[in-house]
């Protein structure tokens, strides 16, 4: 055995790896640190579930907008001031009903309409949700706190192409007379994904 065989090669910590690639890209003049500032801000402050919530509240208040939203989600989102990334060429809005629950997922990675729903939560990207929700939807939803009656049909939507999906939850009965602003406040991210009802 020569000396090199005894060298222990330690895997760099993930933070050190991120530092390394950011610094290396900066050194190449690729302005990585500037992008971290700009896109980090967007990801945390601009691409938030309140965007989808405002779209939902508007659809509850305005039946004509609701029609446009269901017919062409992308255009309706733009109308509300929420443009989507270029590669999200299509937004399909899935309307829930008393006997119908839509649920979205991405079994292959983590695709979501993130500019409207927000960057997906950890559980959405975890191996457990991705492997199970298409096959054991009712059980998974129940485990997550949504215990649907047996006669509620479940429709799961696996985001395997560049089409994006967003659930249009039902408006709760107790919100009659509320303003659009009040309504938007009760629409949660998880209801836009379809793992919760309002």
């Amino acid at each position: 055995m020569n000396d090199t065989d005894r060298v222990v090669f330690r895997t760099a910590t993930v933070e050190d790896r991120v530092d390394a690639i950011q610094a290396a890209l900066d050194a190449k003049g690729l302005k990585a640190s500037e992008a971290v500032e700009e896109l980090g801000h967007k990801a945390q402050e601009e691409w938030i579930p309140q965007n989808g919530a405002r779209i939902v509240a508007h659809a509850w208040m305005d039946p004509e907008f609701r029609k446009r939203l269901l017919a062409n989600g992308r255009e309706a989102a733009i109308e509300m001031g929420f443009p989507m990334p270029r590669h999200h060429r299509h937004l399909v809005v899935l309307e829930n009903a008393p006997k119908l629950q839509n649920v979205i997922c991405c079994t292959l990675c983590s695709c979501t309409a993130f500019t409207l729903i927000g960057l997906p939560p950890d559980w959405y990207k975890d191996l457990q949700y991705r492997s199970r929700v298409v096959r054991e939807s009712r059980t998974v939803l129940r485990d997550m706190g949504l215990d649907l009656a047996p006669d509620v049909e479940i429709r799961v939507w696996d985001t395997t192409a560049d089409t994006r999906y967003m659930v249009l939850p039902e408006r709760p009965a107790h919100t009659q007379g509320w303003t659009e602003e009040q309504l938007a406040k009760i629409v949660t991210r998880d209801s836009l994904i379809g793992v919760a009802r309002l």
Partner: protein
């Protein structure tokens, strides 16, 4: 490729770790990774299909133990090295340790020679395509029959786009399957919809 990423219907992963108000990010480095890969896409260093495929090419043992943003980091670094933007040596020198990267890519492919147009209500069968490169076809629908419920605009064909091969953009169809057809006697009944590229489909009736 039939990779570790193709998780739909796999068993044994345990309960969803769900928390109300779960966050997307847990550490500042995760925000940075997310911004860096998006910046690389925006700058034209690589496209989204190349990025997804770079993550799929991770060693399966690494994929399963890495967090989401570590997978993202590995895909980003792999492509920066493969594209000649950075070298592995530079990354490892700066990181002061090993920087795990994904395995090399196999061959991609162009669009199917014969593609059919479908409309809502058409019955379609998912072809038995087994390819070594990138594919956006989850294994759980391969060979299965479903019903078209929607059509989306043409997108770049991922099997080509992830490999720098020229191909025509093609539409995708939202295809509805019955979970009971996908996993007979082994699922909760439901309707499962998958966005399927035109090249992966043939008419069933």
């Amino acid at each position: 490729m039939d990779g570790i990423h193709d998780l739909g219907g796999k068993q044994g992963y345990g309960p969803v770790r769900y928390a109300l108000d779960a966050t997307a990010f847990h550490s500042p480095w995760e925000v940075r990774v997310n911004a860096l890969y998006a910046h690389a896409v925006r700058s034209g260093i690589f496209n989204m299909d190349e990025y997804r495929h770079a993550i799929e090419r991770m060693d399966p043992r690494h994929y399963l133990t890495a967090s989401y943003y570590e997978r993202s980091l590995t895909g980003l670094a792999t492509l920066c090295v493969e594209k000649g933007v950075l070298t592995r040596e530079e990354l490892e020198r700066r990181a002061n340790g090993v920087f795990p990267l994904s395995s090399p890519s196999a061959a991609g492919r162009g669009n199917a020679a014969h593609r059919e147009c479908f409309k809502p209500g058409d019955r379609v069968r998912v072809k038995l395509d087994f390819v070594p490169g990138h594919i956006r076809l989850p294994g759980y629908i391969r060979g299965k029959v479903g019903t078209v419920v929607g059509e989306s605009p043409a997108y770049p064909f991922p099997d080509a786009h992830a490999h720098g091969i020229h191909a025509e953009d093609e539409p995708t169809y939202d295809v509805r399957f019955h979970a009971e057809d996908l996993w007979p006697n082994g699922c909760d009944p439901a309707l499962v919809h998958v966005g399927v590229f035109q090249s992966y489909l043939e008419r069933a009736d």
